[in-house]
């Protein structure tokens, strides 16, 4: 955290190297988190980019005593949820018969995981990603998504019930 504070401070003073270090430390997880929620590589890239641009925009006002990652992840996840909801709605309107009729071929475990996540509503995907990829506590997730903690817990429970088969098959 001390290193991060130093990097934020230096970036606030105009250091391009400090900004690049911050970017390098946080891009990967932010991008992956967005991808796991939206399941679209281009959208995930846009969302992660937008979050970092918002960070640059707000850099001068950023309170260095606070950790950088939760602030960034909050933007990423909320935008990813918005995008996934909108996309789901668009598919419903534009492609009513888009469900595959045939049994899909056997897939690699990463694809199976993505398929299993795709079966979840975006809100449940988001809490799974926040809890099990980014490792936030339910209380922290509740604050990030502005939800009651009970809602976070119930979304997590429902999501894990539905993911159980995929995860157990991988064990």
């Amino acid at each position: 955290l001390g290193t991060e504070r130093r990097l934020v401070k230096e970036a606030q003073r105009g250091s391009r190297d400090a900004l690049a270090e911050l970017y390098s430390a946080h891009w990967g997880r932010a991008h992956r988190a967005a991808y796991l929620v939206v399941h679209d590589a281009a959208a995930a890239e846009d969302i992660a980019q937008d979050a970092f641009l918002a960070a640059v925009d707000a850099l001068d006002r950023f309170d260095r005593r606070r950790p950088f990652a939760p602030w960034l992840h909050r933007i990423v996840i909320n935008r990813a949820i918005d995008w996934a909801r909108r996309e789901a709605l668009r598919r419903k309107v534009d492609e009513p018969a888009a469900h595959p009729a045939a049994e899909p071929p056997r897939q690699a475990i990463g694809e199976e995981m993505m398929d299993a996540l795709a079966e979840l509503p975006p809100e449940q995907r988001a809490v799974v990603v926040l809890r099990h990829l980014l490792e936030y506590t339910p209380g922290e997730i509740a604050r990030m998504l502005e939800l009651p903690r009970g809602t976070v817990n119930s979304r997590l429970r429902r999501a894990l019930d539905r993911l159980r088969t995929t995860v157990e098959a991988a064990e």
Partner: protein
């Protein structure tokens, strides 16, 4: 199910073209970073520039030519524009005005005739001027310009800042701190956001169901007005008082007393995505406070009312100026002692209307800088019939439609 296994599965899912995406992202972020002005570094140069300009102005004021300029600022319009017209007999530039007085909103027709609509506040024109939407306590009403009420709805909180969408199909308003959208016929009222700042939202001008507003906490959001989904967000200008969308949809104007800035907005096909660009500050003269800002009907020009505080022996004075986009050079149209308020473009963009309360005048200012400023005297009494000594000055709410 073991959580550690789930964690590793999530971490192992391959993200397509991750390295290329990271490189592209870094290049975008570095570009945005290069364009910002680091607060810590900019202080000294800005102060130095301010001192240099102050010194230059002081020197100018002491020279004969400078004395002439001081006289012009201080004397020419001391008690209002000379040769002001004694009453409102027409609206220079045409169209209709919506004017809020203590007794309610007035509709002023092009020939100067006017009608009081009733006990309403926060009135706003429909896009073609066929109706007015206005607030009254916890009620939102649509009224014909002849004063006939068309419909009214009860809200859950005090209604404020209604704004009609450019398509005419929707009206947004605040009920307490919630942002609502209702169809133009008064049906389908729904809250689309909670906890919003007390600032009039801005509709997308292109007929899209998009609404820009500022959420409490200072987040500028662009949302789908049908569902309330937030499609894009960014940090709003601190202390923001004006939010406007350029008519081509390409930019948002944010104004606060201390700053003015533009942001590019990109709407992807079928609302599949929306990008809000980094803020581009619009330079202001040193010592200026922005009292009002408004985009011209063609979106190419920003009009600003600037107030310069009375430092030293100089009394406060105001300037009306134009800033052309994308260049940001300032073209001054008018300079008067004391504060100006309200700022409205004529529908054809040929004039600006501003209020000069100290002089009890409205000023119609040609925007090409060539014609004569037309001043109308006795405005307070015009909107307080039966009270010739009226002390309250009406507020200009809108100038609509040729």
């Amino acid at each position: 199910m073991r959580e550690t296994r789930l964690r590793s599965l999530l971490a192992e899912v391959p993200v397509p073209a991750a390295e290329e995406a990271e490189r592209r992202g870094l290049s975008m972020v570095e570009e945005a970073f290069a364009q910002r002005q680091p607060a810590g570094r900019a202080v000294l140069p800005r102060l130095a520039v301010s001192f240099a300009i102050a010194a230059l102005l002081a020197a100018l004021m002491l020279t004969p030519a400078g004395a002439a300029m001081r006289d012009w600022i201080g004397d020419v319009f001391t008690a209002g524009v000379p040769d002001a017209e004694p009453g409102l007999t027409e609206i220079p530039g045409g169209g209709g005005l919506l004017v809020q007085s203590p007794s309610g909103p007035w509709v002023v027709q092009g020939d100067g005739s006017r009608r009081l609509l009733g006990r309403y506040e926060d009135a706003t024109w429909s896009p073609r001027g066929l109706f007015v939407a206005a607030a009254s306590g916890h009620a939102l009403s649509a009224i014909a310009p002849d004063g006939t009420p068309r419909w009214s709805l009860s809200a859950t909180g005090p209604v404020s800042d209604p704004r009609w969408s450019p398509s005419g199909f929707q009206i947004t308003y605040r009920a307490g701190s919630s942002l609502h959208v209702v169809a133009g016929d008064g049906t389908g009222d729904a809250a689309i956001a909670r906890g919003v700042e007390p600032l009039p939202p801005a509709w997308s001008p292109q007929g899209l169901a998009l609404l820009a507003y500022v959420a409490s906490g200072g987040e500028l959001r662009i949302a789908d007005s049908n569902r309330g989904e937030v499609l894009g967000s960014a940090a709003a200008l601190s202390g923001i008082e004006t939010l406007e969308w350029a008519v081509d949809g390409s930019a948002l104007l944010e104004a606060s007393p201390a700053a003015l800035r533009l942001r590019e907005v990109t709407v992807r096909k079928a609302l599949a995505g929306l990008g809000i660009g980094p803020p581009r500050p619009v330079p202001l003269p040193p010592g200026a406070t922005v009292r009002a800002a408004a985009l011209s009907p063609d979106g190419a020009t920003i009009a600003v009312l600037l107030l310069f505080g009375g430092a030293g022996e100089r009394p406060p004075h105001s300037e009306v100026a134009l800033i052309e986009r994308p260049r940001t050079s300032l073209r001054r149209l008018l300079n008067v002692p004391g504060p100006l308020s309200d700022l409205a473009w004529s529908p054809d963009g040929s004039r600006l209307l501003v209020s000069w309360r100290d002089a009890d005048q409205w000023l119609f200012i040609p925007t090409d800088g060539r014609g004569r400023v037309r001043a109308i005297d006795g405005i307070a009494a015009e909107f307080a019939p039966g009270d010739p000594g009226a002390s309250s000055f009406p507020q200009i709410e809108g100038w609509c439609c040729r």
